[in-house]
Amino acid sequence: MITMNAQKNKIHPHKYSMWIAMASITMMFIGFTSAYVVKRAQASWLSFELPSIFWVSTGLILLSSVTIYFAQRQFKARNMGSYKQLITITALLGLAFAACQVIGFSDMKNHGLALDSTVSASFIYVIVGAHILHVLGGVVVLLVLFFRAYRTRIRTYSSVPIEVASTYWHFVDGLWIYLLIFFSLAR
């Protein structure tokens, strides 16, 4: 009788929820970028080059995807020392990414493309800004995992949290690549 009701989960519900959340975030950015497309087709659209530092930030976030991939492998191998190092590096790369984006903003501003100057610039600020917030959300999650790893009283053996975090991290990485290609093509 007891074996009757084992709830078999092929995929962990938290991981599943993460995928749905990513679909949801994707819809938000689709909303933003389709608004951009609609506006671009209308009058008084000003086209300009993206700040070149965005390419540096692209490199940083791609690198951080690599580090979190290895962090997840180290966690599964129970190499907690290098796991902690790797998620710290990932979080720092995330912060550096955000910093580069903000530098890009001030670069735009110095070239007369302030937030309220023209609607094509406003879109960059809002969409890239919304993306930065999503990256910073990921950094907060990594910090939580970091402090959990230092906890001595309770030890975590479940790899679900780091797997969910790394899925999300790859997602915001991919999202930025999408935005970069989008902004480069649809100027």
């Binding site: 009788m1 007891i2 009757m4 009701n5 084992a6 709830q7 078999k8 989960n9 092929k10 995929i11 962990h12 519900p13 938290h14 599943y16 929820s17 749905i20 959340a21 679909a23 949801s24 975030i25 819809m27 938000m28 950015f29 689709i30 909303g31 933003f32 389709s34 608004a35 609609v38 506006k39 209308q42 009058a43 008084s44 659209w45 937030l115 309220d116 023209t118 609607v119 406003s122 879109f123 809002v126 919304a130 479940s158």
Partner: protein, 609 residues
């Protein structure tokens, strides 16, 4: 004894059967502390308690939202009369006992916002998705009880902010529940566009977060946490409806959020997403190149799925309640699921029918007409199946089944006028008239409320272990049904005559003087129907404490899993193991048996369904 045992300690007589580690969805959640008042009633992670929190918050909002409609109906019915008591509650918003134009627009806007979002989205799907999903799929709780709790508290925070906007000096948002710019984007445009609009936007943004957290959980619980034997095609139709509702919410609410973010920037950062070449108070604004229509696209991309977010849960509950109370299997189960799916897809492809007269390209409009009219097909399938389900059934007329039948009635009569409005040519005459008001109030407002009432009467015994008073339920039903038709039916004629919506005073408008008596009549019925809803609220709260107690765990002789739990289930729902499911949820009047619960194994000599 494991954590699981203390989880059910209140009702559990035989801890020994508790199974250990029945699924990895539950490890890591803290169940091993004593339940305190705070953890049981306030920051509860039990889906059943969260459902009750959503329901009671929704009821409070419904009373406020409905009361607002009584106030503005007083103005519409009796534009010349004065009501001194209005001044004592509204102060300078009703100087001399007559509400001001500003107050009127604030009341109309908040009525729409409250009922569409806070009552019929959070109050309806928040309540019943939370209550029924784990109980009917056979799970101890949601995939993430913590996120579920957050979902309620984000809703609560949104509620507090929206409520506080009612009390600021310049009043709440008053540019209509759709918050179209430029009216909503410029603080100088009206007093309702000042701080009230900011609070409205912030509250709605938090509301979206709440809705997303809830929907995430609903989807992953339905897909991942079903008990053994509960295949997707054995799910009760309620669960299918909640599933599609959640999918709609997850995919459409974020787009609304992006629209709101751009609007906030236009309000406070001088951007020009929606603003272009505007003169206000005699001076030209610097904004250039924006498009107000852009907001409408973003808004209605949510706005249209939103009406299905409201109606699908009601459809699911009505399907279940009609089958139970007709003692017949639901007719065309797979057609019901298929039509829900079709509605879910079409919901994303019809948003521009709200924008036929905004200068939309007429050739583009033709596609949206076609897609809009296509919705009639799955809707008609559903109506046909409800009627054939009760056809020659052994119908039990409980308040729940009456409200379900009432739902089918209002869904038909409100849905048919949708075919008129879906035509872009007829829409040139009918747009923004009382015809539109009549249409969406019957098909979305009244119908969804009927589904909600049906659900409350039907599952109240599961929520509180007591029945609601039946006599009061019958009175509630008949007055509400007749009243709803008396209120909204005449509005069709007003609309066909061209009477526009959102006007403060029609008395100086000679064309519509003929409707003076009719408007008074509508307002009079509104007051009676509102009083009847208070009777329902009394019945609800009275029955929680003094209602007739349940003596059997399955009061309606239903087949689905929620009735296999104890009368007052603890956190974890089943004291022993989660039962295994062997059949679909609609084995009524089969092989001479009145009903066969889902947990009964199929016997070899049983006929196929």
């Amino acid at each position: 004894m494991s954590n699981e045992a203390t989880l059910h300690s209140q009702d559990l007589a035989h801890h020994g059967h508790v199974e250990h580690g029945h699924g990895n969805g539950h490890d890591g959640h803290d169940h091993h502390h004593e339940e305190t008042f705070i953890s049981k009633y306030v920051f509860s992670m039990d889906h059943k308690m969260i459902a009750k929190q959503f329901l009671i918050t929704g009821i409070i909002w419904a009373i406020i939202g409905a009361f607002f409609s009584v106030l503005f109906r007083l103005q519409l019915g009796y534009p010349e009369a004065t009501f001194p008591w209005l001044e004592s509650i509204l102060g300078h918003w009703a100087e001399g006992g007559r509400i001001t134009a500003e107050a009127y627009y604030a009341l109309v806007t908040m009525h729409g916002t409250i009922l569409v979002f806070f009552v019929l989205t959070a109050g309806l799907s928040g309540t019943f998705s939370n209550l029924l999903i784990p109980l009917q799929v056979g799970a101890r709780d949601m995939a993430s009880p913590f996120m579920n709790m957050l979902s309620y508290w984000f809703f609560f925070l949104a509620s507090v902010i929206m409520m506080s906007s009612l009390f600021v000096q310049t009043g709440p948002a008053s540019g209509g529940w759709t918050a179209y710019p430029p009216l909503s984007a410029l603080g100088d445009a009206s007093i309702g566009s000042k701080i009230g609009m900011d609070l409205w936007l912030i509250s709605m943004a938090i509301f979206v977060v709440s809705s997303l957290l809830g929907s995430l959980n609903y989807i992953s619980t339905i897909l991942n946490m079903r008990t053994k034997g509960m295949s997707m095609t054995r799910l009760p139709l309620t669960i299918w409806a909640f599933f599609f509702t959640a999918v709609l919410g997850v995919l459409s609410f974020p787009v609304l959020l992006s629209g709101f973010v751009l609007l906030l920037f236009d309000r406070h950062a001088d951007t020009s997403f929606y603003l272009s070449e505007i003169f206000i108070q005699g001076k030209a604004l610097a904004h250039e190149g924006g498009s107000a229509i852009l907001y409408q696209h973003l808004f209605w991309f949510l706005g249209h799925p939103e009406v299905y977010i409201i109606i699908l849960p009601a459809m699911g509950m009505v399907s279940e309640i009609l089958a139970v109370n007709s003692r017949k299997p639901i007719f065309g189960y797979l057609a019901m699921v298929g039509s829900l799916f079709a509605i879910c897809i079409l919901a994303f492809l019809v948003w521009a029918h709200h924008m036929f007269v905004t200068g939309l390209n007429p050739f583009l409009g033709a596609f949206f007409v076609l897609l809009t009219l296509l919705i009639a097909v799955p809707s008609a399938i559903k109506v046909f199946n409800w009627l054939t389900t009760i056809w020659r059934g052994n119908i039990r007329f409980t308040p729940a089944s009456l409200f379900s039948i009432g739902f089918v009635s209002t869904f038909i009569s409100g849905g048919l006028t949708g075919i008129w409005l879906g035509n872009s040519a007829i829409d040139i005459h009918l747009h923004d008239t009382y015809f539109v008001i009549a249409h969406f109030h019957i098909v979305m407002g009244v119908s969804a409320f009927f589904g909600m009432f049906a659900g409350i009467y039907h599952w109240f015994p599961k929520m509180y272990g007591r029945y609601m008073n039946q006599t009061l339920g019958f009175i509630h039903f008949w007055i509400t049904l007749v009243g709803a038709y008396l209120i909204f039916w005449p509005m069709h004629y007003e609309g066909m005559a061209g009477m526009p919506r959102r006007y403060f005073d029609y008395s100086t408008w000679a064309s519509f003087n003929q409707f003076e008596g009719l408007n008074q009549f509508i307002s009079f019925v509104v007051i009676i129907v509102f009083a009847t809803q208070l009777l329902f609220v009394f019945n609800f709260f009275y029955s929680i404490f003094k209602g007739r107690k349940l003596t059997t765990p399955n009061p309606w002789n239903a087949t689905s899993l929620e009735w296999t739990t104890p009368i007052n289930p603890g956190h974890g729902n089943w004291p022993g193991e989660i039962p295994e499911v062997h059949r679909w949820a609609y084995d009524y009047s089969k092989d001479g048996k009145d009903f066969i619960p889902q947990t009964v194994p199929v016997s070899p000599d049983e006929s196929n369904h």
